[in-house]
Amino acid sequence: MISFAARRLSWALATAFVASIVAFLLFWTIPNVDPEYWLGGGPKGTNETRALAVEKYGLDDPLPVQYVRLMKAILNGDVKCFYGCGSLRSAFLEALPVTFWLVGGAALFAIATGVALALFSVRHRGRWQDRVITNLAAAAYSVPSLVLAAVLWAFAAYKWRLFPEGGYVGLTENPLQWFWHLLLPWIAASLPFTGAYVQVVRASLLEAMDEDWVRAARAKGLSEKRVIRRHVLRNGLIAPVNLWGLDFSHAFGGFALYVEVIFELPGVGLLTSETIGGLDLPPIIGMAIYLAIVVVLTGAIVDVIVAWLDPRVRGSGLAT
C-alpha cells in the first residue's frame, strides 16, 4: 500500500515537473510572445523599459537558467509582475479553501445523489421508475454546467433574488450563510455529473448483480436489501469511484473556472481568470503551475484512497 502511494505520488510530482517545463516553454518561447516586449510594459513600453526588463529579469540568460529562476520565484511566492501585484502565492492559498469547498461539496452531492438514484433505479429495474430516472439522467448529463450556472444565477439569484447574488461567507464565520452562498454553485456544478453517475453506477450495479457471489448471497436467504447493500454495492461502486476521482481532481481547472466567475466566488477559478485577464506573463505561468500542482496532487490522493478501498488496484500501473 505504501509503495503504491509512493509510486503514485512520485508520478504526480513528475507530471507537475513536466507541466512546469511545458508551461514555461509555451509562454516564454513558442508563441511569438516576446517576454522582452511584455515585461517591458507591453504596448505602453519604450526601449528603455524593455532594456530594463532584459536586465531585471535576466532575459539574456540561457533558457534553463531562466526556468530555474522563474520556478524559484513562483514557489517562493514572489513572482514579479510588471504591472505590480501582490504575492500570488498568498492570494492562491487564500482562494484555495473556497474552491475546495465548492468542488468538495459538488463532488459529494454528485456521488450521493447519483448512487441513491441508481440504487432506486436498480431496485425497480425494467419498470417505469427505472425508465424515468435513466431518461432524466441522460437529460441532466446533456445540460452543460456552464449553461446551468448561468441560468440558475441569472434567474434564481439575480432576477428573483431567492439566493445571494454572489460572494462567499466563510464556514467558520457563519455556517448557514456559507451553505446558502454555495448551494446554487453546488447544484450547477454537480447536476451533469449526477446524470453521468446515475448511468455509470446503474450499469455497474446491474453487472455486479449477475455475479456468482450475489446469487450465492440470495441462495443463502439474505433479503434483497441486504444483498444489494453488502454484496452488490461494494463491488458496483469501484468503477464509478475511479471516474469520480478523476472528474473532481479535474474540477479545480474545470467547472471551478466559470462557476466561480458567474457566482463571484473568490476561489482559484476567479483568481485564474483575473490573472489571465491581466495579460501579465510571470503570474500567468505561476498560476498554471500552482493549479497543475493542485490538480495532480488531488488526482494522486484520490487514487491512493481508491487503492486503499480496492486492493486489486495496487498492483496495477502508475497512471490513471
Partner: protein, 340 residues
Amino acid sequence: MPAVLARPPIRRPGATASASPAALALRRLRHDREALVFALLLALMLVALVGAPLYATLVAGTTPAENHLTDQVTVDGERVDVVSLDGIPIGPTWGREYFLGADENGRDLMVRLLYGARTSVLIGAGALALTVLVAVPLALAAGYFRGRADSLISRLLDLLWSFPALLLGFLFASAINLSGARIGPFTIEAGSKLIPVTVIGLVYVPYLARPLRGNALALREERFIEAARAAGMGAVRVMLSEMLPHLWTTILVLAPLLFANAVVLESALSFLGAGVQPPEPSFGTLIKAGLNDVVVSPHLLLAPSVALVLLVLSLSGVADGLRRALSPHRALGVDLVHGQ
C-alpha cells in the same frame, strides 16, 4: 479494452448471413426510434445553421452585426420600437423580423444565434477533425510498434490527460491570444478562430487516442495482422489498410460525444474570453452577453442556452444510438464528461 469488431459477425433473427457488419449496424439504427428522433433533431439544426445566411437575408432582412437602435417593427399591427427609449430591447415577436427578439443594440437575436451556433459548430467540427488526425496515427503507432513507442506515447497521453481540458485550453488559448503564435511554417493571428480549433482539438487527443490505442494493441495480436506482415506488407500499409478499418467503430461512437464536448468547451472558453471574441457571436459570447440583462430581457440568455442544450442532447442521443447499433452487446468502456 477488447477489440470491438474483432469477432465473428452477429447473427440476429431476420439478418441474412451475407449482411456485412456495416449493413447490420445500419439496420439496427433504422429500427432505433429514439436515435432516429435525435438524428432528425440534429439534422434540422445543422440545416438551419447551413441556411443561416439565407434566413438572414430573405427572412429577417439583416446581418448578425447590423444595429437597429432606431428602427421600428410591426407586431400585431402596431409599430413598436426595436429598442425602447430607455434602452430595453424588444422580446420575441415570433414573426419574420426579431423572431427571438433583439439585443441592446437592436441586433436580431435569431440571426445572431444562427450565426453564433454556426461558428461554435464549425469550431467543434474543426477541433474534432484535428483530434482524429492526431489521435489515430498515435494510436496506430502505439498499437503496431508496442514496447518503447507504446510506453512513450502512453506516457505523453497520460500527461495531457492528467490536466483538465478547460484549464489547458484556457491557458493555451490565452498564451496564443497574447500575440499570436508561429509554430514552424504555421502562423496563427491573435484573436483568430483557429486558436480555439487548435487548442480544443489537441486537448481532446487523449480522450480518443487512449481507447483507440487499446483497440490497436488488441488488434495487433490478431492472426490477420500476422498474415499481412508475413506477406511482406510494410508497417504503414499494415496500419492503414489492416488496422485502421477496425478502428472506425470506436471513432464513430466517440465522435459525436467528442464533438459535443468540443462545442461545450468552446462555449466555456468564449465565455471566459479566451475563445471567440465579441462582438462575433458564438454560444459562449451570447450566453455571456445575456447574463446581465436577464431582469428585463431574459430571452437574451434563454435562447442561446436552450439551443446549446438541444445541440448537446441530440449529439449524445445520436452517440447512444450509434453505440447500440455498432456494439449492441457491450457498452464501450469509455466515458466523457463534457467541458471538463
